[in-house]
Symmetry: C2
Subunit: 318 residues, 2 copies
């Protein structure tokens, strides 16, 4: 292992594994959004990815790298979101069991999606404490291999394939903006981009109601997120050691956006691009539309990772 | 002119004109929808077209074919929907005036879109009678050239380029399903498909609450639509002579679907494909999911035209 838990070689190897299971998602553009942002934007559409989010990449990379012996007893995680779907889908693809711990207030649509991939679901109280305890019990009982949603080098390597495809397809980019939750996507993006486009700038996007990475970068150490309060349900978690270690060295800046900015950006993408993105994705779009960001010079071509499109249609914010 | 108002040569010429102004829209697939339909479906995404609907094709073809003298006084139409946007946009592109008559109960979002393309808007009572009278007055006053939304050979030729791109991109198809309102898209689709894939079957989709084409086909003559009642706001109109003349000879069948079937199909496409389609588009998807249609033999590869994605996000049916 080099300075970081993940190298560009790990990411290239991950890309080879993901090719047969995931989609090479399209990159869309919008003249309207370009005009509003004052530059060319390139949207990498992971909302079109299998399971509706980039999480499939990391999930499948981690599951496919397990030895037969490790895989035999199945995989497990606690997650109410896209990682749960990604892990359940990946386990199904590999033909092994998956055990997912979810909070008992999880919306039916998410529960059904994970069930649809054949996962064994255990519901628990909606606290991090209860989720961890419940997962520990499952590991003890089943011997299943835990796949952490972001603080896992194989997961980070998988997420780094998103930027790899972007840069392969577009050739050049002056910057990439991606949302930060636990930092799995952003740290993989950093490794890929530093290797292929050393001069390109890397920007994180966070909701003001869960701005732990912003504060961490400012303080120079991990500040855990307590009591997150935002519509961006994919960005509630704190950073991990693996992701932080990469992020702190390569991020140009993190911009925070309010939930109102998120909702406006989401609505704009739905209305003008006719694609469905979830609030977490919209943070990166909202950053591109901020006047502070628009004022930055030298950024003619900016890539934006639209991380996912899993929303409850009956509970839209507009 | 041959037997019909539009030939494949007209459609090929239209494709040449549209290339520089419209998008060559992508064709998407979905394993989930394939499984539900029992065959391979190919979705031509005109929701990603300029102005959010295929109407741009016919509008631009008609506007660009006007002589300088005809164009000098501008173009006009009465429409509350996608044709209004298409005509206003096309006029703006050509640098001429557009005059759009809209009912005074038109939603702000549609009004704003047409305004955004620089159109001169006249509001009138929301009756067909008032719309026609108001338009006549405008023609008298301005000398603007009327571009009918569908009963116009140049418009039909433009709409026929949708199927042309589909067949060029896919090579082969056993059938195409498209929605029928006034029949502009479907009649253009008929001419293109008969010429390039003589054996392919052509199916129309209509809501039960505006099933005039279904009844017309059954009776062998145009039955005008009175009091339409459906969520499919793009499919309320009656057929025209030009479109009927083509449709009656080439349609295999028209299937009708209830608004509930439309809403289910729309929701399915939003949730699983992560793209935004409007109710009118969803009629064709709903047909593909009907058990009667699924029972048809010999249809392995079916093209579906997703006609547009202009919806009011604050008034969704789910």
């Amino acid at each position: 292992m080099g300075k970081y838990a993940v190298s560009i070689d790990d990411i290239r190897a991950a890309a080879g594994r993901i090719k047969s299971v995931g989609h090479r998602t399209p990159i869309l553009t919008s003249q309207t959004l370009d005009k509003m942002a004052g530059r060319k934007l390139f949207f990498k559409c992971e909302n079109f990815q299998k399971v509706g989010a980039f999480k499939l990449r990391g999930g499948w990379n981690a599951v496919s790298m397990l030895s037969d012996e490790e895989a035999a007893k199945g995989v497990c995680t606690h997650s109410s979101g896209n990682h749960a779907q990604a892990l359940a889908f990946s386990a199904m693809k590999r033909g092994i069991a998956s055990y997912i711990v979810m909070p008992n207030n999880v919306p039916d649509v998410k529960l059904d999606a994970v069930k649809g991939y054949g996962a064994n679901i255990t519901l628990c109280e909606p606290t991090l404490e209860a989720r961890k305890t419940t997962l520990d019990e499952i590991v003890k009982k089943t011997g299943a291999h835990e796949v952490h949603p972001f603080n896992n080098p194989n997961v980070i390597a998988g997420q780094g394939t998103t930027a790899l495809e972007m840069i392969e397809d577009l050739g050049e980019l002056d910057a990439i903006i991606a949302p930060i939750g636990g930092g799995g996507l952003m740290s993989g993006t950093c490794v890929t981009t530093r290797s292929l486009l050393p001069e390109a700038k890397l920007f994180g996007a966070e909701p003001t109601g869960a701005d732990d990475a912003y504060r961490s970068l400012k303080e120079g150490k991990i500040i855990p997120q307590t009591n997150p309060n935002t519509i961006c349900d994919g960005l509630l978690t704190s950073l991990g050691e693996y992701t932080w270690n990469i992020l702190k060295d390569h991020l140009e800046a993190i911009y925070t956006v309010t939930d109102d900015e998120v909702i406006n950006a989401m609505r704009l993408v739905w209305e003008r691009m006719k694609i469905i993105i979830e609030p977490s994705s919209a943070t990166a779009v909202a950053v591109a539309l901020k006047s502070e960001f628009k004022a930055l010079e030298g950024l003619e071509k900016v890539g934006i990772i639209l991380t996912g499109g899993n929303v409850e249609l009956s509970k839209l914010p507009f």
